[in-house]
Structures are given as structure tokens and as C-alpha cells.
């Protein structure tokens, strides 16, 4: 059975059907792309997968667990982590603390251990520091652990957000337009990072991206959405030759 199994997922907002009949099957260790013109419902699909929105219909199963309409907390614990289109870091916290917050449900201890700063507190904090520094090291930003998150340059903020998501040790990582706002060099570097994450952590990655070169270059399987419906699905070559996809992309959307 696949890691993530989505069937017939749909949601509407005040009569507008934002997504319908969305389905997806994701295997561990693979890279998936979700593309489509603006307003096609890509982020909405992400929001349903992560529990931000409750779908009107359909089913989502992660590793055999039904997560349809569950809270973001439940889904995060079940093993889905995400990044956001418009970077959502904890801006006033240090880079290190951002990653440590990501471990919230992985390395735990009760409030009173923290108040009394006992042995449990110290050993867990040490464990967190170590893990967080290792993660930051993978992304080459370990030397900036003490910076306040908003001090990082844009590209590194994107990296930190991925770092934070990985800190929750997810089975599936959702990246919402990770290359948005990046220059070609940064994009190239990001491509390597994403690949590396997949290889080193052995998790599944599903990403939304507008940069076609980026998607075609790294994704093994691509799903194309238009007006909330899947219009094509397959490997990069199949998708890029699909007449409906070409029509959708040449059909006036210049983004």
C-alpha cells in the first residue's frame, strides 16, 4: 500500500468548487510535483492534506491511518510536514529555536521539567540541540544558528523552513512553491537540496511549483490541476506532451 493515498478529495467555498475529484498515490522515497495555473487549487489541496481545511468529500490515508479532516496537530504527528508559499518562519526566534520548535512532538518533556530545569530537561534539550545542529548542517546554515530567523537572506529562510519541517521527522514533506522569489542560482541550489533531502531522509516529497524547469528536472511523477480538477498525470515527459496541459499553460496564463 502506498504511503499516502488520496481519493476523490473535494472542497468548495461558498458555492465555488475549489477542488474536486483529487486523487494521488505517493510512495516513500519519491518526488512528486503538483502543477497548474494560478488558482487551480494546488495550495487548497495542500491545506486539506495538512488539516488546515476540512474537505467536503473524499479520503486521505497516511501509512494506513485515516487522516481525513483531522486537526493539523494530529496530521503533523501522523507524519506530514509542510512549508508555505509565503515563508512562515518564527521570525523573532533564533534559527536554532525554529528547528527546535519543529521537534515539538518528537522530543518531548512536560512543562514542570522545564520549570525545575531537572535532568530530563537538560538531557532532552541537549538531544534537541544536537539534532537541530545536525539538520542545520545538512543545509549549510549551522553557522547561523544564533541569528534571529528574519536576519537570514531569502534563500536561507526557505532552507530553514524546510529544516524546521524535517525536524518533525515526517514521512511526507509538502513544499509549497519552494523556488518562488529565488534567482536562477538559488533555484539550482534548491534543486540539489530537495534531492538531497529525499536521498538522505528517504521520505516522500510532494511539491507545488511554477518553475517548469525545476519541476520537470526533479519530479518523477507530476499531477496537473486546472480549475480544481486533475487534467493530466504521469512522468514529466508524458505530462509535458499532453495537449491539455499545453493548452492550459498557453491558454493565457503567463505566470
Amino acid at each position: 500500500m502506498a504511503l499516502l493515498e488520496v481519493t476523490n478529495l473535494g472542497i468548495s467555498f461558498g458555492g465555488l468548487q475549489a477542488v474536486s475529484g483529487f486523487r494521488l498515490s505517493v510512495e516513500s522515497g519519491h518526488l512528486y510535483g503538483l502543477i497548474g495555473p494560478n488558482g487551480a487549487g494546488k495550495t487548497t489541496a495542500f491545506n486539506m492534506l495538512t488539516g488546515m481545511y476540512v474537505p467536503d468529500e473524499g479520503n486521505i490515508t497516511l501509512d494506513g491511518v485515516d487522516i481525513t479532516g483531522k486537526t493539523p496537530e494530529f496530521i503533523s504527528k501522523a507524519g506530514i510536514a509542510r512549508t508555505f508559499q509565503n515563508i512562515r518562519l518564527f521570525k523573532r526566534m533564533s534559527v536554532l529555536d525554529n528547528v527546535k520548535v519543529g521537534m515539538h512532538n518528537k522530543v518531548t518533556y512536560g512543562m514542570w521539567h522545564g520549570i525545575f530545569r531537572d535532568g530530563v530537561f537538560r538531557s532532552r534539550e541537549k538531544e534537541m540541540d544536537q539534532k537541530a545542529m545536525e539538520l542545520l548542517d545538512v543545509f549549510g546554515i549551522a553557522d547561523k544558528a544564533d541569528y534571529v530567523a528574519s536576519q537570514l537572506p531569502y534563500g536561507e529562510q526557505r532552507k530553514l523552513e524546510i529544516c524546521r519541517a524535517l525536524a518533525s521527522e515526517p514521512k511526507l514533506l509538502l513544499l509549497d512553491e519552494p523556488a518562488a522569489g529565488m534567482n536562477p542560482n538559488e533555484t539550482l541550489e534548491l534543486r540539489e537540496t530537495v534531492r538531497k533531502v529525499r536521498d538522505d531522509f528517504g521520505i516522500a516529497i510532494l511539491l507545488i511549483e511554477h518553475d517548469m524547469k525545476f519541476v520537470m528536472g526533479i519530479c518523477e511523477e507530476i499531477t496537473v490541476l486546472e480549475y480544481g480538477k486533475i487534467i493530466a498525470h504521469g512522468d514529466p515527459e508524458t505530462v509535458s506532451n499532453d495537449p491539455r496541459v499545453i493548452a492550459a499553460y498557453l491558454g493565457g496564463d503567463d505566470d
Partner: protein, 379 residues
Amino acid sequence: MAGNNQKKRKKSTKTYILSFALILGFWVVIEILGHMGLLSSKMLGLLIPICAYAIMAVSLNLVVGFLGELSLGHAAFMLAGATAGVVFYNGAGLNMPQIPRVIITLIIGAAAAGIFGVIVGVPVLRFSGDYLAIVTLAFCQILKNVLSTTYLGVDSKGIHLALDQSAFRLEPGAKPLIKGAQPISGINKISPDMMISFTVGIALLILTVTFVLNLMNSRAGRAITAIRDDEIAAKSIGINLTRYKLMAFISSAVFAGLAGVIYVLNLSTLDFKKYDYNLSINVLVMVVLGGMGNVPGSIIAAAVLTLLPELLRDFSQYRMFIYSIVLIVIMLFTQAPAFVQLRHRLMAMIRPKKSMPEETVEKADGSYFAAQADRKEDE
């Protein structure tokens, strides 16, 4: 890597050292001056209020500075703690030896404030921003109002509680504990020796500061600050928003309750009318002037703002006038973008080497994101 960790530890350690040095330094200076008999009775009378307001400010900072939610009802928790404490202190605790009596009073005050914190927090924390502010203010007014119409007393037949004077009858000789809008007076001080009471106040302040700093430097504290910085991201990471918001809110209430107990035991009277939104606002002003999320700052601001009106008492008619102008001018100088930029330019001129002092961060961040937005639009 190790070096980085060291530096990071240094930063939080600095806050600890600064806070405790400040409190202990204040305690030592006052003890010395007190035993030399150099403190005026006016100054002696201000010692406990300074401790109480410092506890209020540090605990409110937990909600306003660390959780990032605006509460205008902090006085209510002080009042809840003070009232419950006094009812015990003058009631069941009346004939107890003083030390256990004070300790139990403090515990009861803290517990009552905590319970009121749960009652207020559970419905209120669904709101945010200005709505949270108005609803906390509403709860504060309700508590003050209801207590002002409450009659409570004990006689041989048991406890009598009424919301109306006419329904309230005690046996002759029995003393009522709460008499409606009438202030409760004749509350014994913690100790006839002001220096001992002051030490109790300092001990409670240390307790509060230790709790708040330890909480904020732990897993729970990180969750609380994460919620402040970005609720949606915090949610996506699996943080239970309600749990941590309530944790901050209730902890804050508990310490306000403690502050209420020592404040009222020092004052000897409890007048419900005084615990209104004006008091909440005064504490809020301390938090803002001391710096959001800045614990030593809250302590200093509380001490200065408690002393200031008294020091200005010689200009008694002008003191609140001066206070209000000082408040506006400070806000303009520290918060207006035009002034902030000017200050940073001056700072940069003084120490050009030190890269990015923490204060510039938010500014840099704002302009950075604006630049990003422009970039996106160009595409």
C-alpha cells in the same frame, strides 16, 4: 558548532543574571538603608507595591510579550487573588500562627486567580487582537462589579453568601468578610516589620521571574513564542494552540493573584473599585515601556512607574499630567518609525563594527519583505 551553542546560552544566561542582579541589588540596598533608618515612611510604604507591580508586569509580559495577545483584564486576576486571600486571612486563618497563615493565604490567592484564569481563558482565547482586549476588559469589570454586590460572612450557622444586602443576615457579633461595595479594612500586615514584609515580596518576585524565565527557555515556552510569531505555522508543526495559550494565560493569572495578596496585605484595605481597567492599563504600560518579552525591562519599568508618581508628589497637581506627557513622548521616541530609524543611524555611527544589533532586526525584516514583494510582482 560548540561555539554557537555557547554564545546562545550566554544570551539567555545574560537575562537571568541581569534579572536576579537587579532584584537582589534592590533588596540589598533597601535592607541596608532600612536598617540604617534612612528610608522615609513614604518610601517604606512603596516597597511592597513595587514588588507587587513588578510581579504583575512580569506575569502580564507572559501574555502580551511572549504569547503576543493583548489583555486588558490583568487587574481582575489581582483582585481575584486578593479577595480570596483576604477572605481566608480574615476568616479561617484568623487565629493561625502568622507564617502558615501567610503561606496558605498566598496559595489560596494564587489558586483563586488561576481558577478565574481558566474561567476567563477558555472562552476568551478563541479571540485575538482587539477582541481579546475588550473581552478581558469585560471580565475584569464583571468581577469588580459582582464582588461589589457580594456579601459574605460566617457565623455559628455556617457560611452566608448573598448578592443583596437585604438577604444577608449574620448573628450578632459575627463579622462579615465581604460587605458589598464597602472596602474591606483592618487587614493585618504580613509583619509589623516592613523589612520582613519586603523580603517576602522580593522572594515572590524571584519566584515569578524564575518561573517565567524557565518556562520561556523550555519546550513549552518555545511553543508559546512560536504561536506569537506565526499561528498557522505553529499549527502546521503540530502545536496545540489552545493548550499553550491557556498555559501562558493561566500562569500569568496565578502570579497576578500572588501580587494581589501581598499588595492588599500591605495596604490593609481592599477596595474593589480600585481594580478596574485603569490598573490593568497601568501594568500594560509597564510591560510596553519595559519592552515586550523583556523580563528585566518589566521589573525596571514597574519600579520606576510606581516611584515616579510618588516622587512627583510635590508637584501633586501636575504629576499625572507630567506622567501622561512622558508616556506619549516615550512611545513616540521608541516606536515611531521616523525616530527609530534616526536612532539606528546614530547607533550605527557609534559602533559601526557590531553587525545587526537585535533591535534592527524587525526593521530590516520589514523592508526585506517589501523588497521580496516587489520582486514577486516583477515576475
